[in-house]
Amino acid sequence: MTATFPDLHMPPRLLVPGATPADLATHHQRYGPPAQVDPEILLRTFAESGLTGRGGAGFPTYRKLVSVAEAGRRTGRAPVVVANGAEGEPASRKDRTLLRLSPHLVLDGLQLAARTVGAGEAYLAVEDGATWLESALAQRTADPLPVKVVRLPRSFLSGQAAALARYVSGGAALPTHQRPPVRERGVHRAPTLVQNVETLAHLALVARYGADWYRTAGTPAQPGSALCTVHVPGREPRVVEAPYGLPLGRLLPLEGARAVLVGGYHGSWIPASEAAELALDAGYLGAGVLAALPVDRCGLAETARVLRYLALQSAGQCGPCLNGLPRIAGAFRTLAAPGPQGTVRADLARWSGLVEGRGACHHPDGTVRLVRSALTTFAAEVDAHARGHCTATDHRPLLPVPEEG
């Protein structure tokens, strides 16, 4: 199990350090009874708090709730709420850690979100395992809406909103063309709210303690806190809770680091010097992954391994993605080792331009973001490889990439 690190960057909210999984009694002891608030007041509180989504897009949560509620009224179909704990990002552990240690915060938030949008059905989506969820749910006899646990096949795209809605409806866990979007027509053709489990946990606390309390962490422009999965070589990945605005240099040690991967495999590489002063911000945090690349490793080789994985994880539905991502991964592999590069850089630029925005989901877009940031941050290494040498001395794989098959 991933240990929550004793480093405290703020008074703990979602995860109590060193804690064991909380049962319902412990949960109520720690946080008090669940909030009993009118949906209208809840929405206003969420709006005032400035809470944004923790699934990667960073969209204001209250706006999402409002649009689903509105779609429900307009179509006359009771909305569906799906708590998204699928966490397809291999380098991220925050959602499964949260579900392990504080499941009742997530489940409180799920009930609150359901009440706010007027939902008739609730689901909790996770990848395989998490067998304790059913017993956590069984303890909650006071919940107005029963929650069905849905287990998804392990894949990068399983947590994508449309893929999730499709799977819960009985289809494949693959993205769909969102016309209309999932918030208007999703699970069983009803307006569907897909919300990350961490966002739901924050919702549960905001409902209890209010918007002003939520804003005691973070900055006026970016209130609140987020869970991050921190990867430092030589240590187990750990999940930490940090306020927005905290400089990244305080979250992970950057001496001896060449660069930091921020966000996840759809994120960006940033040079360590820049990262040290960068304030934690929802705008780039994505899935909350922060991974330090030591000076003695090759960022291009790491990126090539990730790109290979991303290409294999393409749903294979959209022509540009199916054709472009494998070619991008193949070309980047050439850059990843010292040797002649031919037309690779021009090919990468062309293919990146061709796949961006031309899929049903953002998989190609995120992949292109990673490619471009790698080419910028590791530009010197690309040149070195072209001239036949690599500055890295340690070639062991660093970032977690699931095995094929």
Partner: protein, 193 residues
């Protein structure tokens, strides 16, 4: 119009239907395989497929009406739509009726394609693969010209064309199924810079 004239017309339109529907099947498979006909724009294949299918249907209507109108054989309007209930050679005629029913389903769903959506349309359109052989067997079984040289050659040519096209269709589907991200990645990694 004498019964003999109607009979000749029925046989002639039957043969024309065989040829036209065979070409329609070939064109349908060409559309699906993204085959470009020489000299025509891409939408030409689709246009031709559609136009010829309507022409073939027109000849089919003639073929059927000459049979119904002809007093020499007892084929009623009911026999046109309901298979195997007629007095005249119920098995072979019935197969013709089955083929017509399938063609009607394909035709109606194609006219309403945009309304029905691609998936529904595609499921019904696959019945076309069944209607062609059923119609062929109908023709061979009931046909008065079976055994005549020209008819035999015509039939052999159409069967050969349809079988070849169907084999190409299966090969295309197999190739498409193999085009997975993993397969494309293997190809990309094999490529030299």
């Amino acid at each position: 119009m004498s019964s003999e004239t109607l009979w000749y017309a029925n046989r002639a339109t039957g043969a024309v239907c065989l040829v036209l529907f065979t070409i329609v099947v070939l064109l349908g498979i060409a559309v699906r395989s993204r085959t470009r006909l020489p000299g025509l724009p891409r939408f030409g294949t689709m246009s031709l497929h559609r136009t010829l299918s309507l022409s073939a249907t027109a000849f089919l209507a003639l073929h059927i009406s000459t049979a119904v109108v002809d007093g020499y054989v007892d084929i009623t309007v009911v026999d046109v739509l309901v298979p195997f209930v007629g007095d005249y050679r119920p098995l072979w005629l019935g197969l013709g009726t089955v083929a017509l029913d399938l063609v009607l389903a394909v035709l109606v769903t194609s006219l309403l394609r945009e309304r029905l959506g691609h998936r529904t349309w595609r499921t019904v359109h696959r019945l076309a693969y069944a209607s062609w052989p059923v119609a062929l067997v109908h023709g061979i079984g009931i046909g008065t010209d079976t055994g005549a040289d020209w008819m035999t050659w015509l039939t052999v040519a159409c069967v050969a064309a349809a079988v070849a096209a169907f084999a190409a269709r299966l090969a295309h589907a197999a190739r498409a199924a193999r085009r997975t991200p993993a397969a494309l990645l293997r190809t990309a990694e094999g490529a030299r810079p």
